[in-house]
């Protein structure tokens, strides 16, 4: 250890390092720049993310670093690209909004976003419990801040005379997120301590050899809960709708996509990378969570009148599918080379991320056109925002429709393939009933997705609306999501192959 041998392999951290530097650059730029038009920082952040995204294709990111605490494999790269893409979309979608509600705090917003993505990227490759925990928190803490990123100030005084202050949602939503997150973090740390106690190591791969004592199993359950909250899986989902409702919509598009994917990555690390040998311990529990998510998410979404809440519950239901995919990875299956489960999960996440983000950005455009936009989103994102969109903006309407169809799993958009792929893997693992349940409940899901479609095409346009204008940045973001949704829907093979390679590398070579 006298030499710098431990520094070899650090190239796998290129992306994280680049991201951290980019964030710091933003911070500096923010400090240096005068209080003027800080919108340019958004462009800078977007350019930085784009650079990182390109770097994932250019740089060599395979290998391990720091005594295998960090591992760069195709799956990590897959996730990194996913995070970077969602970050890019989120930044493009946020620029107008943030410039409007917090002109002075734009730099911090982008910096926090970049930090969060850095955390996620670390998470994707973390093979050590300590690193995993730190990365998870690194991802989470900026999110609490961003969730509360709404304007307070002048509005506060002007609305003082009202009986009930209406602009508290950001704080309230963010606070709810924070409390649940903190409790979950407590549970996670406790669970990690138990797992550490049973394995005697913080290496995830050592979990495989751990004897499965009750204390160890308890630790696993607690980890499941701790990460399950971030997934928004039932019954740890209850913060989701409130936070979505209160937070800035472009941020919600990010929150609803990337952190969920990251949490799946974390669960995959622990459950598949580590505790696969103990699958009899966690599989039944995960099944309960899956069934609960599908049932609760789909049911509760049926009666929501606020689109963001509706999509929040739909997200609760959606996350059941990648979890299913995790269940579909069985020790015997892996032993015989079956990695379709994880591949399907990865593919599903990618499909979900683009469609969900695109849809939230459409909502953002619509909110902007509301007659009385305050910055607290109260009473604005009800379904009626979509009313008559088919006539007001046919292109946007078509985009929204395709996103909805993708979420519902209808061809020829990518969601169809994703759902079918997951079902295929789940059936292969022997959970036929889960496939039937999932398929039938996605029909329930279709009910509320089609409610939005109905509002778009069948309901009449509300009277007092500002003309609809889609800022260029959001157009680019939506266009990207749409292109990804449709092109991958028409020819899914490249993405499926990428997911398969990632899954194979992760499951078959790691051991």
């Amino acid at each position: 250890m006298s030499s710098l041998a431990w520094l070899t392999g650090m190239h796998v951290l290129n992306i994280e390092v680049m991201l951290a530097i980019c964030a710091l650059v933003l911070l500096l730029a923010d400090i240096i720049m005068p209080h003027g038009d800080k919108k340019v920082l958004g462009w800078v952040a977007a350019a930085e993310l784009l650079l990182c995204l390109v770097a994932t294709f250019v740089l060599d990111l395979q290998g391990s670093a720091l005594s295998e605490a960090y591992f760069g494999d195709p799956m990590a790269v897959f996730f990194k690209r996913l995070f970077l893409v969602s970050g890019l979309v989120a930044i493009l979608g946020s620029m107008e909004h943030i410039a409007q509600i917090a002109p002075r705090r734009q730099g911090e917003y982008y910096m926090l976003l970049l930090f969060s993505i850095t955390g996620m990227c670390l998470l994707a490759g973390a093979r050590n419990l300590v690193l995993l925990l730190v990365a998870f928190e690194f991802m989470s803490i900026p999110l609490y801040v961003m969730a509360a990123y709404a304007k307070t100030g002048p509005e506060f005084e002007t609305t003082q005379h009202r009986n009930k202050p209406k602009w508290t949602e950001p704080a309230e939503g963010a606070f709810k997120l924070f409390i649940i997150a903190a409790v979950s973090a407590g549970i996670t740390v406790y669970g990690l301590s138990l797992v550490y106690g049973a394995t005697g190591s913080t290496d995830i791969k050592m979990i495989r050899e751990a004897s499965s004592s009750p204390l160890f199993s308890l630790g696993l359950v607690m980890l499941l809960v701790g990460f399950g909250f971030k997934l928004g899986a039932a019954p740890f989902h209850m913060w989701v709708p409130d936070t979505y409702q209160g937070a800035p919509t472009p941020f919600v598009s990010f929150l609803s996509a990337a952190p969920k994917a990251a949490a799946i990555a974390a669960l995959a690390q622990i459950l598949l990378g580590g505790a696969l040998t103990h699958s009899s311990k966690w599989t039944p529990l995960l099944l309960v969570v899956i069934v609960g998510s599908l049932l609760l998410g789909n049911t509760l979404a049926l009666v929501q009148s606020n689109t963001k809440r509706l999509l929040a519950f739909s997200g609760v239901a959606q996350i059941g599918f990648p979890l299913m995919a995790l269940v579909a990875v069985t020790p015997t299956g892996v032993a015989s080379g079956q990695t379709e489960g994880l591949a399907a999960g990865l593919f599903y996440l990618a499909a979900y991320v683009v469609a969900n983000m695109g849809l939230f950005l459409v909502i953002e455009v619509l909110e902007t056109a509301q007659p009385h936009r305050t910055f607290a989103q109260q009473d604005m994102n009800v379904l009626s925002t979509f009313a008559g969109l088919g006539k007001r903006a046919p292109g946007l309407a078509m985009a929204a429709l395709l996103f909805l169809l993708s979420l519902a799993g209808i061809p020829f958009v990518v969601g169809f393939w994703a759902k079918l792929y997951v079902f295929l893997a789940v059936w292969q693992a022997g959970y036929g009933w889960l496939v039937v349940l999932g398929a039938v409940l996605s029909v329930v899901g279709l009910f509320y997705y089609l409610r939005i479609a109905r509002a778009i095409y069948m309901d009449h346009e509300p009277e007092r609306t500002k003309p609809l204008s889609t800022p260029t940045t959001i157009s680019i973001a939506i266009g990207f999501c749409l292109a990804a949704t449709v092109i991958t829907g028409l020819y899914p093979n490249p993405l499926i192959e990428a997911a398969r390679q990632a899954a194979q590398a992760f499951l078959l070579s790691g051991g």
């Binding site: 061809p411 079902f423 295929l424 039937v436 996605s442 279709l446 479609a453 109905r454 020819y491």
Partner: protein, 515 residues
Amino acid sequence: MNHLLEIIIAAPFVAALVILALPSEQTMNMRIVALLGAGVSLVGSVVVAFQYDMGVGGVQMLNSYPIVPSLGINLTLGVDGWGVSLLLLTGLIIFTGVFASWTLTDRVKEFHVFLLVLVAGVFGVFVSLDLFIFFLFYEIAVLPMYLLIGIWGSSHKVAEAGPFRFVWRMLDIGGKEYAAMKLTLMLLVGSALIIAAMIAMYLEANLTSFDMLRLENVTFSHSLQFWAFPFLWIGFGTLGGVWPFHTWSPDGHASAPTAVSMLHAGVLMKLGAFGVIRVGMMLLPEGAQEWVWLVGGIAAINVIYGALGALWQKDLKYVVAYSSVSHMGLVMLGAATLSVAGWNGAIYQMFAHGLMTGLLFALVGIVYDRADHTRHIPDFGGFGRKMPGVAVFFTIACLSSLGMPGFAGFVAEWLVFLGAWTGQQFWWAMIGIVGAWVTAIYILRVSKNIFWGPGPSDRWKNISDARGQEWFPLWVLGGGLIVFGIWPNLILDFIDLATSTYLPSVTSLAMEVHP
């Protein structure tokens, strides 16, 4: 390499894209583009019929493009005798359907886009030889219906009654959105069952392939066949109007605009029945044999139940919709016989009923359009004097519907009855024949109530006959009914060719009825 099938499927898609690109005020151009797209498909279908080598038979024009090689999903297209006839049907219906929606003025662009996407899906189903792609096209065909009905449809009142009247408080029963939603959800629950069966088959076959031609040669385990067949039957059958999962059909058809009803009853319902035969029965022959008693029994119920149900209806479209339920029962009945005659009859009934119901809905559309958007039959009367042409074509459709020789419907019904009679289930045939008689009662009564009798009263003094392009679907579909009724072998030869190759592998029950 022959790329006709690709062209047939792609033409509507391309037309849809072109329409998307057109500025929204160029409605006439959109119609023309839609017509061109549909026309290319129709001409393609006709050319396919001519190019299909009857001497060789089997699947022809086979092309395969890998989509997801690692999962064995390929875009495999090929056409057999059934495909030839059903392509032709689809081509005819969509081509005339575009004409039938010529007068539509609300959001022309979206209408044609959705319509064409739907049709591309239908074409795709009929020529897909890859199970996954088959299902993909199936879904593509089902979903645009929601928007087509929901946007361009019409609502009506349904009296609040029955043991479940409390649901009226929460559901807008009779509304077009309700009808569209019910249709979509019921059909997609069916899809959920199809997915399950499809995946199970794929995995058990363990070929890493969805190729139906290969899956046909797989002998699936008995337990899989036993449970998966009902899944496929109900899954596809929901679209095929299998009782008691047919209730989307009356509301859906009643709410849909003319061209959509034409397409839906004319072609889309056939997808369901086609799926049951092509996927359910041909891939799971043992399961089919285990379950045909129920399939046929339910189909017989469909026939008589649909006909009797139609007797009660006062709404013109409901009558036609129930008649579709009844006639689709005949298709399933033919399928359940597992006999050459029965299958020939089933496919021929798809073809004949497609033309017939397409014609009926086109006519109903015209009546509805002229009569101030009323479909209440008792309000009508004596229209024959003002719209003789419509009356004549309506009569043609009615006669075909009740199985009059010389019209296409007769051939199909006769073959189905013969199949049922020889299939040791003669009571199916009896119910079917009685159903045909009840059809004569309700359908001619409707015709009488609308077109015959004194009148029309002053309320309808401005009604007029079909005009301009409206004649086109009437002539084509009505003419088709007669031509294929007089000379059924034009189509039946194709169908028979496929049936006689497919059936022996499906069942040992295939009876040689000819001495």
